[in-house]
Each structure stands twice: as C-alpha cells, then as structure tokens.
Symmetry: D2
Subunit: 295 residues, 4 copies
Amino acid sequence: MKIAGQVSLEDLPRIAPLLSRATNPEYSGRQTRVVEVRGVRFGEDRPVVVAGPCAVETHEQTVGIAQAVREAGGDMLRGGAYKPRTSPHDFQGTGLEGLCILSVAREVTGLPVVTEVMDPRLVREVAKYADMLQVGSRNMQNYPLLAEVGRAHKPVLLKRGMAASLCEWLGAAEYIAKQGNLDIVLCERGIKAFPSGEYARYVLDLSVIPAVQALTFLPVIVDPSHATGVAAMVEPASRAALEFGCDGLIIEIADFRKGPPRCDAAQAIDANTLARIVRFARARAEELQEQVTVA
Amino acid sequence: MKIAGQVSLEDLPRIAPLLSRATNPEYSGRQTRVVEVRGVRFGEDRPVVVAGPCAVETHEQTVGIAQAVREAGGDMLRGGAYKPRTSPHDFQGTGLEGLCILSVAREVTGLPVVTEVMDPRLVREVAKYADMLQVGSRNMQNYPLLAEVGRAHKPVLLKRGMAASLCEWLGAAEYIAKQGNLDIVLCERGIKAFPSGEYARYVLDLSVIPAVQALTFLPVIVDPSHATGVAAMVEPASRAALEFGCDGLIIEIADFRKGPPRCDAAQAIDANTLARIVRFARARAEELQEQVTVA
Amino acid sequence: MKIAGQVSLEDLPRIAPLLSRATNPEYSGRQTRVVEVRGVRFGEDRPVVVAGPCAVETHEQTVGIAQAVREAGGDMLRGGAYKPRTSPHDFQGTGLEGLCILSVAREVTGLPVVTEVMDPRLVREVAKYADMLQVGSRNMQNYPLLAEVGRAHKPVLLKRGMAASLCEWLGAAEYIAKQGNLDIVLCERGIKAFPSGEYARYVLDLSVIPAVQALTFLPVIVDPSHATGVAAMVEPASRAALEFGCDGLIIEIADFRKGPPRCDAAQAIDANTLARIVRFARARAEELQEQVTVA
Amino acid sequence: MKIAGQVSLEDLPRIAPLLSRATNPEYSGRQTRVVEVRGVRFGEDRPVVVAGPCAVETHEQTVGIAQAVREAGGDMLRGGAYKPRTSPHDFQGTGLEGLCILSVAREVTGLPVVTEVMDPRLVREVAKYADMLQVGSRNMQNYPLLAEVGRAHKPVLLKRGMAASLCEWLGAAEYIAKQGNLDIVLCERGIKAFPSGEYARYVLDLSVIPAVQALTFLPVIVDPSHATGVAAMVEPASRAALEFGCDGLIIEIADFRKGPPRCDAAQAIDANTLARIVRFARARAEELQEQVTVA
C-alpha cells in the first residue's frame, strides 16, 4: 500500500538543493559555512556560547544578566521579547519594550543579540533591534514567517520542531535560503517522545548533529535548557553536545538572587555554571585544534 | 528534580478557561457547542462530512470535485489554495486564484468552503472567500495567526499539531477564543510516533475524541486522509472515527479519470467511496437518534 | 552514514517467509488462515469476542464472570493466572490455582480459555489447562518463549510489543511458525507514544490492521482494554476496531458488584457493555455478509 | 476519566523499595553502590569500558578482538553467544560453543566476560561461563528471566527496554533485587521514537542518567553502539555519555581486516577508536578526581 507524503534523506537534494552538500560542490567536504553575527562566528572551530534570560522582563534584570553572560565568557545574548506560551493567559513577553531593553543590554555589554520573532508582520521591527532572528520550534514550519525572515538581511537561528524529521527541518531551512539568505544556524532543542515529562522536558537528540553536518553545510547548535528542562542537566547536556561536535550552545540563565524568572525557572542555570560551560567549550576547542595541528 | 514547562490536563481550567467545561457551567454536562458554517452545523447529532481536493489546482478540477462531493452527499467543500509543503520548491498552491475558484465552486454547488490560511497578513483576504478558516497542523502553535484568525468573524477549523498534547491543543484553541471567537472546530489528524511511515503516514489517535468531549464543549472532527496517508484506509478510518463519536470528517478526494492530483495522491479516495462514507455517517446518526428516542 | 539493524516491510519475505503472503502463493489473495480454538474460529467473517477478568482471582469471581461472558454472547474466556506487573511487590496472579479455576470456568460455561504464559518452563503446564496460549506485549521478543509456545501444539495469541514495528511483530510470529505451528492470532493492543498517559493508557493503532492483512494471512484481533486503559473508551474502541476489519476483540470485564478487581480496574467494563459490543460485532458481520452476497 | 496502569516516579518507593534511594537511607546521598565483576568495579570514579564483538563467531575472531580490547585499555569483554534477532532465519549465535570461546578469551586476556542470556533454563549454564549476565532490551520485562538471573549469584547488566519508562525499568530491576541480588548495573541503549531509522538506529536518551542516579543507587552505563547504530557516532556518543556522568560504556568492536562481522557491522568500531575512547574515559575520570580533591 502506497503511503502519501513520504520523504527520506535520499530526497534531500530535491527538497533542499540550496542547503544540501550533495548539490553544492563547494561544500562537498566537511567544511561548514561560517555564519557571522556582528563579529561572532558560528561554524568555526570555536563553539559559540549564547546565553541570557528566557524572557526579557525588566531593564535591570536583562542588563544584569547580560553583564553576567559577558563576564562568564559568553559570546552572545539571548532573550525573548515575544514569548510563545501554551496559554494566552500566561505572560506573553514584554514585546517592543523588551526589544529596547535588549538593545540597551547590547550597548552596555557589546554582546550581539538573538531574539525570537513569531509574526511575519513584526520581522522588520524585530530586525531593527536584533542581530540574529530566532524562529522557534513551534514555528519551524510556519512558512510565511520563514520567507519573511529570509528577506530580512539578518542571520537566522532556526530551531528544530519537536516532531520534525531531519528532512522536514532542512526543508524548512530551505524556505529561508530560497529568499537569498544562507546565513542560517540550526538548533537542536529536544524532541517529543514517550519519556517527555517523566524525568526531563524533551528528549535531547544529539545524533542529529553529525547527521546535519554530513548532509548540509549549515552550523548547528544545541539548546540544553529546553531539551532537558532541568537546571542540573544543563551543564552535562552542554558538554555532551560539544562532544558531539556542535557549533555552539544557547542557554537560559537567571539571577536567582532577584527571585525566580517568570518563565521556565526550573531550567535556568546561574552565571557560575555558565562560566564553567564556557571554559569547557574553550578547552574543548583548543584540544581539537591541537589534534588537528598534530595530525 | 523539577522539570520546567510541565502542564497536565488538571491545569486546563487555568490554561483554557474560555473553553474548559470545568469553568463554563453552561456546558457542564455532555452538551456540545454548535458551530454553524453557512447552515452546516458542527456539534449536533448529524456528523458533518467535509470533502474536496487536497489542493485547488484548476477551475475544472475543483468545480468537478465539488459537484461530486455534493452528489455524494457531502456537506462542505475543502480545498487548499495555500499549501504548506515540506520543500519550498514543491507546488505551493494556486493562492488567490485558488480562492476565486473555491468561491465559484461554492456558487455552483451551494457547499460552504473551508480553506487553510497560513499567513496572518492574508487572513482578511482568505476570509472574504472562505466560510471557515483552517489552521493546519504545522501552525497549531502559530499564536499570531491564531489571534488574527480569532478576529476574523469566521468559524475556525483547528487541526492538532503532530506532536501536540491535548493540553497544548486546547491552549492553542484558547488563543482564538480569547479574541471573542468561540466558533472553533477541532480536528484530529494523526500524530507522529515510531511507526509513522512504516505502513501509514501518521498514527490516528481516536482516543483523543472522547477526551476532547469530556474536557471542552467544542466539536471535534477527524481527518482520516492525512492520518493514514493510504487511500484504502480512509473508509475504515472514517467509520472508526464515527464510532468514537466524532462530530464530522474532513476527507480528500480526487477525480482519477483526470490523472493524479498534484499533492498527496496516495491518500485521495474517489467519489463513490465518499458516498459510502456519507451513507454510513447518516445511518450511524439515525441509529444513535433512535437509541436516544427509545431511552 | 549507514545505520545498523534497519529492516523494512520490503524485507518481510526474508524475515517471515512462513507467514508472508508474498512467499505463500496459496494465500496470495485476501484470504485469512482460519485459526480454530475448540470450535471457535478466528479469521472467518464472524469476529470472535474474547472476554474475561484481567486476573483470575477467585473461583467465584472467575466462574461468575465466565457465565456473564457466555450470557453476553462472548465466544471465549480470557483471564490471567500469571500476571506480568511493573513491580514484583504487586499481585502476581494466582498461578496454578488460577489455571485450575479457568478450567472449571470452561467446564461450567463451555467457553474455550486463553491465558498468558510468560515462562518457557511453564508452557507445557499452562497448555494442559488453556485452549490458547497468550504471549503478552512484554514478551513479544522473548524468543525462547515463542519457540516453546510454538512447540506446544496449541493456538497462540501473540500481542504486539508496545514499541514493535510491524516488521518486528511478524518476525516474532515467525519464531512460533518456525516450530511448525501456524495457528497464530495477532493482537494489537496500543503502542507507546508521547500522549500515552495523558488521556489514555497507550495509543490504539488501528491502521496496523489492514497492513497486517495485506502482508500476512494470520488473523488479527484488538485489545481495546489495554490500548485505552479507560472503561468508557472500550466500547467505541471495539466498534472502531471492527470497522477496521479486525477478526476479533479481547476485552476485560469485571463484576463491580463484588468490588473492584485487583488489576487495571479503570479499564474493565461490565457485562451489559460487553453484550452491546457483541451485538454490534454480530450485526456488523451480517451487514458485511449481505454486501458480499449482493456483490 | 481515570486511566488504568498509570505509574509515575513518585510511586518508586512502592514499586522498587529495594532499589530506591528514598527507601534506603544508607544511600540517601549521591553514593553509588559498587558492583564488582572479578575485580572490575562499576560505580566508582573510574568509568568501566566493556567492549567486544556483537556476536561470538569463531575462536580466532573472539580471542583476537579480546586481545585488542585489552590492548586498547578496555576493562571487560562483551560478546553474544545467544543472539536475539528479528528473524528466526537469521544467525542466532553460536550458543554453547560461543560460551566456551568466551571463557578461552577470558583465560587469554584476563578480561571478565559479560554475555546475554535469554532463556531462564540456560541461566545456570551461562553463569558457569560468564562473569556477568546481561538481560537485553527485548527481555527487560521478561520477569521469569529476571527472577532466575537474580538467583544466579552473578552481577547482572540490565538493558533498558526500547519503550521503557524509568519507572518500568527500575521495576524490572527490582525483580532481580527481590531474589537477594543487588549487584545490578543498568544500561541505557537508545529508545524508539519517531526519528529512529532516519539518521540513527534509536534515540540515545542521556537525560535518563542523572535521573537514574537521583532515584536509585545502582550504577548506570551506556551502549553507544546500539543507541546510534552508526560507527561514526560511537565515539562522540561515548564521550557525551561520560559527560553525563555514566559509570561506564559497552561498545561493539570488530576486526575489519577479517571481513565484516555477521551482525550489526555498521555500528562496530575498530580497536584504535576504542583506545581513544578509553583514553578519554581515563582522562575524564582524573579531571573529575582533581576537581574533587581541590574542592
């Protein structure tokens, strides 16, 4: 019995010809395309560490955390101004005010900023403030948004949908690429499977990293905060992701001295833990560099 | 270890207070809210059968199928003008032209029309042509779209996301309701699980129907075409869904004498099969009616 | 990158040559092999209804329920003497005593008996009492058990493992067949997927029924009790399974006047509900018979 | 609607009182029980590396690989004499002959041996040759086997079932413990989820490691070979598992100069890669040791 809608990775050259290694001879080896965000370079030997609050709540909170990120050695600031929440009655983010706060935090710290955009009508506005536009898991197959983001002349962080096959994920990235924007960084953030919710939020799927790298030239990073949903798992998940060769991490942190954050408090780590992760990422990169030099 | 972001059905009165039975005493029994679409009533004893092509391709194809739907006893016409496809290089639908064709088909047959909208900027335009707006699985958590659709003064068909818990699904519906629009019909269309793709496209999850009915007053229908992806399974899946008490079906049909359709040919049935399904739905409703009369 | 251990349904003629339609020309059409259990015939037009308690607890309980099954029109008695339980500290069944009780119940009612065997060392003993040997989901790939059961000269009921692909399931059945025993009835009983536990116990996967029927000649029945875990869903699930063309049902019932059963009380239905399911199954079979006669 | 059979980690003290930290005050901290296998100690600071062929095929192959394991720094030898295979027509292992070969390999190399037993009737026989008994994923809930293994006076390696919740896994371990044998090592080996088979064999679920460690005092190791099914992923998966704090690894290797192995060739690594993994495991342990000493 024939089944409709079946695609497999063998179809990738047809589904994502702009992004597939097979159809881009200049990327036929192991080379990764470097995606630059105001001087921060994804896809080189040194993994990029993005960190910040789940949601931008206040000026003080965000600037404080941004400074902590810089002090911990982080490369970029994350923070949600528009928050996709399961219920419309939950805190939806601070919106435009949040964007302003993020640009102040960038001013103060020098860290480039990535923030999520959910509405194609807001892409231009968000792009004025952000250095990199994030498309979240829930919107991975929101094709009008992907096209709009593709036209915004900004690098894009595309999170994997929680039930997305690799084929579907790269097909989604191709919507951005088709607008002439190849500055895309992919982000694995955990998938839904039967254990979700028993001892972790999602199931972190690290095997997708080498598969991404074999099939496309885009950099791929990992979000250990959403994947696990458990603060105590963020550091091991970060290290594990780096062992799998990811090009960076995006991590939620909080300043617990100021009280718990308004979203996802249970998955936020503190700045000290972030600093350890950054040191690990740096040491790991040097170690790999030495191996390459020796070989 | 605490896990971030955990919600369960016990949280529903907080997540979806406008749609939860528990917080709406007028729906505290088993009563379903009737959602009316130009005379077609979802949520009454008689299940609604929506049918039509996957994609609106040509005037001739769509009008021909619409007439076949009417002759088979169908209540409403479905047809995609804007098609969400895994690859941007695949046929994306006929867009505005498709909407025009749909309104001609309605003119000719008298069948109300439901069609998918993916872009919040197009909601008003699509609403001019459609009698009911469909939000597809990929956009179930596209909250700006849900809000815009909620403001369009049209009934909405909200498909379940392929990895959506019931809690998340009803939370998504609440985004529509929050705009003052309670005319929402839910649609189960198969979930992603390990067998997806082995012998069927998704896993049809019929148990969600009585759960929906226990927790909210919204009507719920089933899409057997996408759930199975196999033409030969559409009729048994339709009958099975009706046995589970669903309020209707949405089915893809094609006129194979004109050659295969451009999308999802393997899951399209012909008009004769549709007619059998409609007869079954009618007989089933009468049988239930008699049981109620006797009791 | 090559992946170890990948099999697909295209490999079935190699994996299960004794059971595959493709390698058994005498079953190349739609014909099902009839598996007879003391006069009860699985695989003919009339679906077989097996019912009984989850666990055999006492003589009175089991004989009482067996009589209720016969009065409700059921064909066979089920009842667990050896119960696989998540914890070794939970009630493990009444063992040999339970087997004796089952054979008394058969004596009293004339209903053939199916009961689970988990231990290859007990197969002969259980086969003395049971008319049909059940291999449960947890043991679907317990190959020494399958081989022993295959040698017992009794029909076998093989439940699908909760994460088993169709390929793996038929491969497991082939272990029984390889011992010279083709009297195998397959049983779908719900799979594990992300929604398991939110509103139902497992996800009932009805699409596997036509797939089984297309690929092998073995009869296939459905266990709506374990698949849903919710008493109120057992009747709709039974009807839905029959619409999908299954060859029978296996259902848990209880006599609630005597207090709740010791296992899985929430999924047990009463005898009246069973009687309605049996009537539906009979009416459905006659309806199909008439269609065949007319055509 | 109440759902039958629901258990959660909160029920663990009841499900697995012998193994739960909550019910064993002597393990109320972070301490792990040390499981010793002929001098090799699971659960101490130094992760144990078990390696060997998928299946014991010949004397030459197994002894050769065992020597390579020892030279690479491995601690223990694995090798299947009885192989659970999807089809009964596939190579089933060399059985008793394989056990003899394994004991020769132990003689030659001094490495303790772990091998799978599937049949409760063979537990004593296998225990004569093996230093540690492995219960495989397919038999995780084969309770008579677990009980028999629990009585064998040998340490046990209990692999996680491919659809097992943590609760079910620890419940299964409790069957062994109930026989008076607490010398149990748990092994995560990948779960079934929607991406299984797209780019990896299963989904490696590392988050279960800290959850195991929080809830029970048993050591837990990881099988990167089965979890990924891709040779090129075995090294990163091993490192990732060590970053998550696992107590060891069990890895399949082959000597490709002698031709491909008869099972699972695509997931076997060579001895050089194994040596790198062992060096990493040793360095990682020392690093942790230093941190503890400093702190």
